[in-house]
């Protein structure tokens, strides 16, 4: 009788130990997930802290920003006497903005690819001044150049306008 009780208790306790070991491995997985989440949250918090220190502006719709870019180009044309032809690729950037700029995510911010072709240069046109205009365009709008090339008589500025 005693042996049967001991045998049954050992079998039951082994079964419980087995359940306990399974539960322990689940617990370890949960703990690992939790630590990952906590680390992620800490990272996000520090990122938020940095972002909160930046000046804040109301976000702008991409269409509005595009008009702003065009206006700026016309303004620069009138100053420099250079003709700038803006070609819209009409394709939103399907790539994430972080693929262009490291350490950025900018969730919800879209990019619109545009190409500015400067094909009419007057003899007096200074290439340095035209390039300076491109930089000025970047400064005044949310346009960012990704490539500027000059071949033959064309100056092609490729870039994107960013907005909501």
């Amino acid at each position: 009788m005693n042996k049967i009780i001991i045998f049954i208790s050992i079998v039951v306790s082994f079964a419980l130990l087995d359940f306990g070991i399974t539960a322990k491995s689940q617990l370890d997985e949960f703990k690992y997930s939790y630590s990952q989440l906590e680390a992620g949250n800490l990272e996000l918090k520090s990122k938020i802290k940095v972002m909160e220190s930046l000046p804040k502006h109301e976000p702008v719709l991409i269409s509005k920003e595009y008009s702003e870019v065009l206006n700026q180009i016309r303004l620069l044309e009138s100053y420099g006497g250079t003709s700038m032809n803006v070609q819209l690729e009409a394709s939103p950037d399907i790539q994430d903005i972080s693929s262009h700029y490291e350490d950025t995510e900018y969730k919800g911010i879209r990019g619109l690819k545009i190409q500015i072709v400067v094909d009419k240069f007057s003899k007096e046109t200074d290439m340095g001044a035209v390039l300076d205009d491109v930089h000025l365009l970047e400064k005044n709008t949310d346009f960012m150049a990704t490539e500027i090339s000059k071949n033959n008589n064309n100056l092609i500025v490729k870039g994107e306008v960013y907005g909501l």
Binding site: S13, L16, A23, Y34, L37, N41, M127, D132
Partner: protein
Amino acid sequence: MNYIQFNNKILINDGDTVRTIEKGAFPDHYLLSIDTASVCVVDVDVLIVASVEFPVEKKDSILVRKFKELYQYESYVIQDEKIDNNLFQVIGVKEQLVREVNSLIGSEKIETFVPYPIALRNALMNKKVNLTNTIVFVDDIGSERLLTVFDGLKFSRTRVIPNNGEDILPEIKRSQIDFFKKTEEFLSKKNADFSILVNNKTLVNELSKSTEKLQIQYVNIPYPGLEGLKDIDTLIKYRLPEEEIKKKKEIELRNKIRTLIFSICVVLAGLFYFLFNKVQIELVSKQCDLANQIHAQLEEKIKVLDKETYHEALKTRKTLNYGITYLSILEIIPSSYTVNSFKFYKTDKWNLEMTLFTERDGVYDQIPCIKILKDAEIRDIFYNNQPGKHLRVTL
């Protein structure tokens, strides 16, 4: 503690005084009022038996069988003690006597229940009496004289001789001869020499008057049976069969309870381990849920901040003034070169590639690698039958 010697008369030592009480006249309630008692009984039967020591069951079986062969007409409660290798002294007390003692005192109050010879032997050993030789001890308790023969650990049945004034020496001799005959085969010394120990000085004087040359010695132990019960160290204790069964059942029950408790503890340990981990899982799971919620909130906050700060963050990345850079390079390049084409492009940093040609029959000057062109890669090219330079610099 009370020390009690049972015989035809009962001797009781309550620690201070010794009382002698006749059995019949004894008030039962007196004994029942005793708290604890050590008891010895005079009326015992003894048998020396040779037997194997192990297994214990076999030894017990042999001892009981041999004893019953000799004392088959009455029920006995038997105990044994080892006196030599494979040699045991079996001491039986009549079951009726054990019942009588138990009924008078109460079995639960009896701490020690031994035969009188064992108590006597203990008293003699405490008095440093040499028991290696055969001795006959005469315990004079007044109306009776108790004769017990010892040889080492072995002892005889105690004979009770009424004190009626007759010479006791023949009885002493008879006891010795009887003992010698019964234990002859087990005795180490095969001679009949013996000495006499007496606890009564008058009797010693009487016996000394005998013409026979006997060794007679006085031992000052007035009640050796009662004295021997004090500080006795023995495993012997007489119990009735039903008490033995009850005790065995109690032991079995205790073992079962112990087993049950052990089993429950083992199961509880497993259960505790399982439940502990389960509870931990629940706790960590809740923490995970909470962390997930916080994560979602932070993500949402970052989304809002992204929209509010992207403008400023983009601005910080617009650091390169292409015009100034272009003009700085032109300042370094010798005037004999004309810029044919150039390209600003971005990898992790901005880069500039430029192709330069000289005017027809122009001077093919060396381009100095200074300032912004300090790390520039410059190589010769030949394009459309015209030599030139290809310049590449990381800005």
